[in-house]
């Protein structure tokens, strides 16, 4: 139904002629388009830059210190997805803003606008662009996911094992290789770690924040998470699944530390019977 609503002048133009006319500033038919496109383009660049800045500046500032490869991967995704989606946000917001600035006020409707029913090329380009964006996001995610699972598999033999138990409302840790029970989570830097996670009661979610990994703790089922600590620093362990009354307080601390510090920490606990005081 669309093409019939356009006037005759519009319909006889070939796509090539229309494009040439569009580029020709002096053609009265497209003068309005030119101006609209120009303003929208400027607004689009502005919004794109705002989103790029948000990704590049704000996320690294807000997110915690990166202590592992996984956390680095998370932060990269947050930054780059923001940057990649910035032009799309720019297009949407610029067109919205351009029309907003063109507003009509008062108690009677404005005169009718241009009867654009649809525009085939625009719909196709838009859809193709969003599919492309989508594929980039999917491939990025799949590659990151795959990299992590390959690393986890190859690193398994040299991993430090930590058995994590969640119970209402404390985290407790058992290091089978060192045979120590602890309530803080200390890890050596540059050694892969495997968390075997279980719950004594309801669901919890084990979240060593700065390591950027997370896995639910379920009753009678062991779930597994891997991390590769790459830097030293304090660690916060939280519960990310509502688990009842004191869910908010189900947290503990720890650290990623040098191998020497870690061994000293292990020795000090072994000296007190293998149970952290």
């Amino acid at each position: 139904m669309s093409s019939h609503d356009h006037n005759d002048e519009e319909s006889w133009r070939t796509p090539g002629e229309r494009f040439t006319n569009f580029l020709n500033r002096k053609n009265p038919h497209y003068e309005h388009d030119q101006k609209d496109v120009g303003i929208a383009f400027a607004l689009g660049i502005f919004y794109t830059l705002v989103f790029v800045a948000l990704g590049a500046w704000a996320y690294p500032k807000w997110m915690p210190v990166v202590l592992s490869k996984q956390m680095q991967a998370n932060e990269d995704i947050m930054i780059w997805f923001t940057v990649i989606s910035a032009p799309i946000a720019g297009v949407v917001l610029s067109i919205a803003a351009k029309s907003f600035l063109n507003m009509h006020r008062g108690d009677t409707p404005p005169e009718d606008g241009v009867a654009i029913r649809t525009n085939g090329p625009v719909v196709i380009v838009w859809t193709a662009t969003s599919v492309l964006f989508c594929i980039v996001a999917i491939v990025w995610g799949l590659v990151a996911l795959n990299t992590e699972s390959i690393a986890a598999a190859t690193d398994a033999p040299k991993s430090l094992i930590v058995d994590v138990t969640g119970s209402q409302w404390v985290w407790s840790f058992y290091y089978p290789q060192q045979n120590i029970h602890t309530h803080t989570l200390n890890l050596p830097v540059n050694q892969p770690v495997t968390f075997n996670v279980m719950s004594d009661d309801v669901n919890h979610s084990f979240w060593p924040v700065q390591l950027g990994v997370k896995i639910d703790a379920n009753r009678l089922v062991t779930t597994v998470a891997h991390a590769d600590p790459t830097a030293t620093g304090p660690l916060d362990v939280k519960c990310a699944e509502l688990c009842g009354l004191y869910h908010a307080y189900m947290e503990t601390s720890g650290a990623v530390e040098s191998p020497t510090d870690f061994n000293n920490w292990v020795s000090s606990i072994q000296a007190t019977g293998g149970v952290q005081q």
Binding site: D112, V114, T127, A137, D201, N218, L242
Partner: protein, 621 residues
């Protein structure tokens, strides 16, 4: 029904079937019978049972709640028609006209009234009440979170508030557009005399109504500690208040099934002559796709809740790992409902704004087909994405990749919705009334909600973000920033048709800016808290998150103030606003061709449709 659909409104006498039981029943008799059923069941079941056993308590409470619901429906007369069918009769024509409520004034709003316009108003008032209660809970949550270490409310109350705020708002948002506008406006929009099943229409509202006191009773039974997700085994462990939650969901699922079937049948079968599928207003398409999506979605929630109920009453152990059950079973059932459900909420809001934009820009809707493809694509994909809520559950890590792929593909049909809106705006000169402002607010909010959804759908990023305040901020941007804004736009747009008066403009504008600016401050603050690493649903938090939370709370108060102003504007305009002309916006859909009050059968002459309703605009130059 023949008399009903052919008699001209003016010549119809007000029926008065004096001897019929129907004339004596109303909400009051419903409440009386419901309460008698409830307490009767309670005392009958309690007798001889050991009430120190929580299983027995759960049995008695659940059955009492269902008894209330059934008793209320008997008391209001919902089953008189079906009962007559059992004995080979039906309601008389007089009784049917009486049920339609013509000429009964305000009293018909408290009866089992079959007029779709009455049901629409019932939904509108009910939704506003629910949003008010849910919003007040949100204010209490944000007040407690204003500073770390606050003791404004205890953790028990806090957890209950989180759950009740969640479920109240979810229920309210599911019906916020399809309830009031789907019932009041949509049949007129398609040129129908009423809904396909007027009695089921009344049933859907009154069944929903019976869920409200049940949900409220959760407060008095110790609250719910589980959040609205009601994950097992926490729900197995929870106190008696949990029964109220289960019963509410089961009752609500019945209501949505009835309403969904009714709306889809109406749209498929009762469109005006000439209203081919490509001439159906886009709001009608959106609302229909939304309820059609709800029809398969909610029964799984109902099943999940029935199984929770069985675990809690007769220890079936569906979700109890100790006896071979699995919490993952619950999580799967819940999210098979849970993800379609967010689109059930979103689509009618977007569709309302797509109905609004062409009217105020005075341009055709850009690419009607893309809009339908967008809605259909979202609805189709939404049933294949549920386990993205379970990436970190430990259930089938090997499926994380496939679920990431389906989830991210939703951004393609979602992109089409943006294209339709910005295409409609392009080169337009928008008439900046409140409904149109909502279109702009929607674009901004949904853009942020959509983009942040892409991070969350990415498994490696979700490793960090899952279960954090970032998620809370994301879904509020989509459900509140997008869907509720759409519903407010719809209310401002259709208010003249539903009340006969114009919505107070100044009140509308002031509330709009308080709500939208406050909303963005509130949830941008929450994005920061989430990125910093604050888990969601926490009654307290570390000092690290103090600034972000204070920002959020300040934003929340602004939203609260805006909502109070909006409520004032609605109430004030409804009582004494400027009388609305028949078609104040100069729109081309059928509802603007009927006067206010809308006649019982809507149209004196059945309308004939010859084009789609978007024929605005001059030829391109």
């Amino acid at each position: 029904m023949t008399t009903l659909s052919h008699a001209p409104a003016s010549s119809r006498p007000i029926p008065n079937p004096k001897k019929s039981l129907i004339t004596k029943l109303n909400m009051g008799t419903g409440i009386v019978v419901g309460v008698i059923f409830c307490w009767g069941t309670y005392f009958a079941m309690k007798a001889g049972r050991d009430m120190t056993d929580s299983h027995n308590v759960n049995k008695v409470l659940l059955m009492s709640m269902f008894a209330w619901s059934i008793g209320f429906l008997i008391g209001i007369g919902a089953f008189i028609g079906p009962f007559r069918w059992l004995i080979g009769k039906d309601l008389t024509d007089e009784e049917q006209l009486y049920l339609a409520g013509d000429g009964q004034g305000w009293k018909r709003y408290f009866k089992y009234c079959t007029d779709h316009k009455v049901v629409g108003i019932q939904y509108l008032v009910g939704v506003m009440a629910m949003l008010g209660v849910g919003g007040t809970m949100a204010m209490m949550i944000r007040t407690n979170l204003a500073t770390p270490g606050s003791h404004f409310i205890t953790p028990v109350v806090y957890n209950s508030l989180v759950g009740l705020h969640g479920i109240t708002m979810i229920v309210a948002m599911i019906i916020v557009a399809t309830g009031p506008f789907g019932n009041y406006i949509m049949p007129i929009m398609i040129g129908a005399a009423d809904m396909a099943f007027p009695r089921l229409n009344a049933l859907s509202w009154w069944v929903l109504f019976t869920a409200i006191p049940v949900l409220c009773s959760a407060w008095f039974l110790g609250g719910i500690p589980t959040g609205w997700t009601a994950y097992a085994p926490l729900s197995d462990q929870a106190g008696p208040g949990m029964n109220a939650f289960l019963a509410t969901i089961i009752i609500f699922a019945v209501s949505t099934a009835v309403a969904g079937m009714n709306i889809t049948t109406t749209v498929v079968a009762m469109r005006a002559k000439g209203m081919k599928w490509n001439r159906v207003p886009i709001f009608v398409i959106g609302a229909t796709i939304s309820v059609a999506l709800a029809i398969p979605a909610f029964p799984t929630f109902m099943v999940a809740m029935i199984q929770t109920g069985l675990d809690r009453t007769i220890a079936t152990g569906f979700y109890d790992a100790n006896v071979g059950g699995s919490g993952w079973l619950y999580a799967n059932l819940f999210w098979i409902m849970g993800h379609p459900e967010v689109y059930v909420i979103l689509i009618p809001g977007v569709a309302a704004l797509m109905e609004i934009a062409p009217v105020f820009v005075r341009k055709p809707l850009f690419s009607y087909n893309a809009a339908i493809a967008g809605f259909a694509g979202i609805a189709g994909l939404s049933v294949l994405v549920w386990a993205h809520h379970m990436y970190m559950a430990g259930w089938m890590p090997s499926l994380n990749g496939p679920f990431m792929v389906t989830t991210e593909f939703i951004s393609v049909p979602t992109g089409l919705l943006f294209l339709v809106l910005i295409g409609t705006l392009w080169r337009g000169r928008p008439w900046m009334k409140l409904p149109m402002l909502c279109v702009y607010a929607f674009i901004w909010n949904f853009l942020i909600g959509g983009i942040t959804g892409i991070y969350l759908s990415d498994v490696p990023a979700d490793n960090y973000l899952h279960g954090s305040m970032y998620v809370t901020a994301h879904f509020h941007y989509t459900l509140m920033g997008a869907a509720l804004t759409g519903a407010i736009g719809g209310l401002a747009y259709w208010f003249p048709k539903m009340t006969g008066r114009m919505l107070n403009e100044r009140g509308g504008y002031i509330s709009f800016w308080f709500i939208q600016i406050g909303f963005n401050v509130l949830f941008l603050g929450m994005f920061i808290a989430g990125a910093e690493g604050q888990p969601r649903r926490v009654a307290d938090y570390a000092h690290l998150f103090a600034h972000a939370n204070l920002i959020s709370t300040i934003g929340a108060y602004s939203v609260g103030l805006g909502m109070i102003i909006l409520l004032w504007a609605i109430v004030h305009s409804w009582r004494s606003g400027k009388i609305a002309p028949m078609n104040p916006w100069g729109a081309k859909t059928l509802e603007w061709t009927v006067p206010y009050p809308v006649p019982l059968v809507n149209f004196d002459q059945p309308p004939v449709v010859t084009s789609d309703p978007y024929g605005y605009g001059r030829s391109a130059k």
